[in-house]
Subunit: 506 residues, 2 copies
C-alpha cells in the first residue's frame, strides 16, 4: 500500500529548482515580428504583452517546474514606463520652467522588490503607507529623504520609524499631526537625532472634484477618509508654526483617485494646490515649503484589445500620458517659479500595470445550455480586480487554437469555490476540445496585471501565491535580435509558507 | 547618530514572545454577567461576543506583545455550533428516520488548523476544494473516507492525490469526470492501490432555484460555474457505468449558495436531489449510492445587534437553525429509508462565523464638516467582506467610552490606502476625544469574523496577517466561575513572512 507522504506538500518539483538559488531560468532570443518591427520603427515601445507572448514559448517548458499561474513581467516595459514619466517631466517642467521634479513610485501598486529596484535604479523616489513598505524601500536602498510616508492611519511606532528614517511625513488629519508632534517631542530628547528635526511635513488636502472612477478608487470628496478639508489647513499650519522646533511644513499634497482617464480632471486640483502654496507663503510667512505633490492616479487602457474578444466597442480611448500630465501641471505652476519648490508625482498603476501578464493553464471547458465556461488554474486570488471592481482585464490564448471554429461566448473562471471567482465574463473566444487529453498544454494570458493584482493576492482556499518571472533583454541588442533572460523574482508559496504561522500546523 | 536597524522589521517584541513556543498567553476567570446568567438559565449558549468581550480585559495587557488587530475565538462557541448540527441531525434523521448523518466542515470558511481540530475532535468530516486543503485535513488527522473533495477546477495532480487519499470525489463537469477516469486509469496500474478502486464519485447537480443571496455567494442557476445541469446527469452516469472498474457513483450533491436566511429555499433542492437518487436507482440500476450531500449555506444573523448602532431596524430575523434544516431534509427523505444512504451537510459560516471577533485599536478620530471617521488599525485586509459584498459586521467599543455624550454618525475605516478600506459605514457610536493622548487604549470589536475573514485575508499594503487567539474555558466549571486560558493559534506575519519568497528581498 502506498503511504501518503505529507512532505509532498513541499512540491519538491518546485523546491529543488528554487533552493539552489538559481534565479536565471533560461535564455533565448527575441524574434521581432512585423508587429513589433513596425512599432520599433515608430520609436514607440511595443506593448509589453507582445514582448512577453513572443517569449512564452521558451518559458513554457519550465511550467512543470514553476507550475502555473505565473506572473510574467517585461523589465523593458517597466524601464520604459518610468523613463516616460521622468523624461517628460524633465522636459516640460525642468528644462522649460526650471522646476526640480521627482517621480515617486507608489509601492502599494506592486511590492515585488525587483520592481522597486528597477525604478530605484532609474532614480525613483517611493511613496508608502506603513512601516513594512518603509522597511522594504530602505532595504532596496532608497534614501529616507527620497521617501514620502502617506496614509490615513499611522501608528505611533510607524511615525517614530519614519522620523528616524528622515522621510517626508504626510499629514492626513488633525490627529495625525498631534501624534506626529507627540512622537517628535519624545524623540527630540535624543541628541543624536537632532539632524532629523524639524520633521518635514506635507499636508494632504482632500479635494472636492469628482475623479470619475469606481467608488473604491476615488480618494477625494467629503465622504473620503483621506486628507484634510481646505478650511482646516489654516488651523494645522498654526499648530505646526507653534511647534517649529519639532516640525516644519514642507509641502502640500493631493490625490484624486486611481484609473483616471481624462487629464482635465487634474486641472482644478493642480490649480487649487498651487493657490494653497501661494497663500501659505503669503499669509503665513512660511519659507520652508519645498515640495508640491500632485499624487498619482493616471489610468491605463485596460480595454485596448477588448473589441477583439468582446462586444466592447473599439474606441480610441486617449488615456493621458505622463507628458499630458506634465503639461497640465506646467500650465498652472508659473507663479511658483524660482521658489525652490520641487514637483512630485506618485504614479503606481501607470508605471507597472501594463508590464505584466498572468499566464494560466486551461483546466477544461464546461458547457451548459446557456453558458460556456473556460476553467483555468488562476483565480480571483491572483487577480481580484474583476471581482472587486468589476474591472476588465483582457484575456486571450497564448497561441491561437487554430481550429478555425467560430468564437463562442464564454466566461473565464478560476477553481476557487466562490461565484465571484471569475477573470472575464462574456468574452468571445475559440472553444477548445472537451476530450480529456487535448487541453493540458493550452495556456491563456490575462493582461495588464502588474498593478493591484500580486499586491492584493489572497491565500483564499489555501491558494499559493504564484511565482513571478522577469523577462530581461540584454542591453547590447544586435540588429533585430536581442538576448533575453528569464529571471525568477518570486518563488510560489508552499503549504508551509501559508500555514507556518499557525501553532497547530506543525 | 542612530543607525536604522532593519532587523527591527522582525518586531522583536513579538518575536521573543512567540519563538519560545509558548502558546498559553495567560489564564483568568469568566465572571458571568446578568446578561450571560440569563442566557445560561435559558439553556441557550450566550453570544460568543459576550464571552469574548468579558475576557478581553485580561488579554489587552498582551496587546503590546501581540499588537492589534487580533482575531479572538471562543472555543466553546465552536463546539456548541458543531454539536447543534450533530445533535439535531442525529435526533431528527437518525433517531427518527434511521439515517446515518455526517457534518462536514467546509474548510474554505476558515483554515486555521486549530478550528479544524476542534471540529475533528467532535467527529466532523471535512469538505475541501484543492490539494492544500486536502493536505491540511489529513495533517489534522481526518481520514480520507471522511473527506469530500469538491471544486470546479481540479488539476490532474490533485485528482491523483485525492484518489490515493481515499476521498469522495465531487464530479462538477464532464471534463472533470473525464480527467478523473484518466487519472484512475493510470493509477490503477499500481497493484498497491487496488483497494482505492473504484473511485467514489459524487455528482454535483446545479439546481435552478434562487438562493436569494449576494450574486457572488450564489452557487446555483444557469450562469453559475458549479455543478452539472440535471439533463446532463444521465450522460455522466453512462460514462461512469462503462468505467465501472475504475469509478463508481457514490452519491449526489447540491449547494445553493451561502448566507441563506430562509429554510424554505432548501425544500425544492432537497426534493430534487432525493428524486434524482430514486430515479438513478430505478432507471440505471445503480446500487452503489451511499451519500446524499445537501451542501451548506445557512446564514448567520450578522445584524442581530445592528439596531444598537445604526438605522437598521430591529427585526426578529429568524435565521434557520441546524434543526430547521434537519427537519426540512427529514420531510423529504422518507423514500430513501433503508437504502443505506448517508445524509451529509457541509456547513462553513454557520459553524464558525459567530465564534470570533476582531479586536482593533482606535488610531484616531477624524472629522470634516459632513463626516466623522473612526480610524482603526484593522482593515479590509483582515475583513474584506464589507468591501467585497457590502456585508454588515457589527462594531462596538469593547468598553463604553462613558462620556455620556450623544452618539454620532461615523464611518469605521482602516489605514489601508484605498477607499474600499472600510469596516462599517453610517454607524452611531460615541465619539472619542481628539486630543493626542487619550485614544491609545480604546479598543473596538468587529463581530462575527470567524468565516471568510481570516481565510480571505490580504497582505495588501504589506499588511501582516494578524495573530489568532482562542479563549478556552476549563471543562470543570465551578458555579458561575470557570477557568479560562488564552491560547495563541496563529503568530502574526513578520515582514520576512510576507516578502521571503521574493528573490530580491534577501
Amino acid at each position: 500500500m502506498i503511504q501518503l507522504n505529507l512532505e509532498d506538500s513541499n512540491d519538491k518539483s518546485n523546491g529543488a529548482f528554487y533552493f539552489n538559488s538559481e534565479k536565471v531560468l533560461c535564455t533565448g532570443q527575441i524574434q521581432l515580428t512585423d508587429f513589433l518591427e513596425k512599432h520599433v520603427m515608430n520609436s514607440e515601445l511595443p506593448d509589453s504583452e507582445e514582448i512577453i507572448l513572443q517569449n512564452i514559448n521558451e518559458l513554457v517548458p519550465y511550467e512543470s517546474k514553476l507550475s502555473t499561474p505565473i506572473y510574467i513581467y517585461s523589465k523593458k516595459r517597466l524601464v520604459y514606463n518610468f523613463l516616460s514619466y521622468k523624461n517628460s517631466f524633465k522636459e516640460e517642467l525642468t528644462d522649460q520652467l526650471g522646476f526640480q521634479t521627482n517621480i515617486s513610485f507608489s509601492i502599494k501598486a506592486n511590492f515585488n522588490p525587483s520592481v522597486l529596484k528597477v525604478f530605484h535604479e532609474n532614480g525613483s523616489w517611493a511613496s508608502l503607507v506603513n512601516k513594512n513598505e518603509l522597511l522594504l524601500a530602505l532595504k532596496v536602498g532608497i534614501k529616507g529623504d527620497n521617501l514620502i510616508f502617506n496614509g490615513n492611519g499611522k501608528k505611533l511606532s510607524e511615525i517614530d520609524l519614519a522620523i528616524k528614517s528622515g522621510c517626508y511625513l504626510n499629514i492626513d488629519s488633525l490627529f495625525n499631526l498631534n501624534h506626529t508632534i507627540k512622537v517628535a517631542q519624545k524623540l527630540y530628547q535624543n541628541e543624536d537625532l537632532r539632524n532629523k528635526f524639524p520633521v518635514k511635513l506635507i499636508i494632504r488636502v482632500n479635494q472636492t472634484q469628482n475623479a470619475q472612477v469606481h467608488q473604491y478608487l476615488n480618494t477625494s470628496g467629503d465622504a473620503c477618509k483621506f486628507g484634510v478639508q481646505e478650511n482646516q489647513v489654516d488651523n494645522l499650519i498654526e499648530i505646526i508654526k507653534s511647534n517649529s522646533n519639532l516640525v516644519k511644513l514642507s509641502g502640500f499634497h493631493s490625490h484624486l483617485g486611481s484609473t483616471i482617464k481624462a487629464v482635465d480632471i487634474y486641472h482644478e486640483s493642480v490649480k487649487n494646490l498651487v493657490n494653497l502654496v501661494n497663500m501659505t507663503i503669503e499669509n503665513h510667512k512660511i519659507d520652508s515649503l519645498e515640495i508640491i505633490n500632485f499624487g498619482g492616479g493616471l489610468g491605463i487602457n485596460y480595454e485596448r484589445f477588448a473589441s477583439n474578444t468582446s462586444k466592447i466597442p473599439k474606441v480610441e480611448l486617449k488615456i493621458p500620458t505622463p507628458r499630458d500630465l506634465a503639461k497640465v501641471i506646467g500650465s498652472h505652476v508659473t507663479e511658483l517659479k524660482n521658489k525652490n519648490i520641487r514637483i512630485v508625482v506618485e504614479p503606481g498603476r501607470s508605471l507597472v500595470g501594463d508590464s505584466c501578464i498572468l499566464l494560466t493553464n486551461l483546466l477544461g471547458l464546461k458547457q451548459n445550455e446557456n453558458k460556456n465556461f473556460l476553467v483555468v488554474d488562476s483565480s480571483m486570488c491572483e487577480c481580484l480586480r474583476p471581482c472587486l471592481y468589476s474591472a476588465y482585464h483582457h484575456i486571450d490564448y497564448v497561441k491561437p487554437l487554430n481550429q478555425n471554429g467560430p468564437r463562442e461566448l464564454v466566461d473565464v473562471v478560476g477553481p476557487v469555490c466562490e461565484s465571484g471567482d471569475f477573470l472575464g465574463k462574456d468574452r468571445y473566444l475559440e472553444l477548445p476540445l472537451i476530450s480529456e487529453n487535448e487541453n493540458a498544454s493550452i495556456y491563456l494570458a490575462i493582461m495588464d496585471v502588474g498593478a493591484y493584482c500580486s499586491s492584493m493576492a489572497l491565500n483564499y482556499n489555501l491558494h499559493p501565491k504564484p511565482s513571478e518571472v522577469f523577462i530581461e533583454e540584454d542591453e547590447s541588442t544586435n540588429g533585430s535580435k536581442s538576448e533575453v533572460k528569464y529571471i525568477l523574482t518570486r518563488r510560489p508559496d508552499t503549504l508551509e509558507n501559508i500555514l507556518g504561522s499557525f501553532t497547530d500546523f506543525f
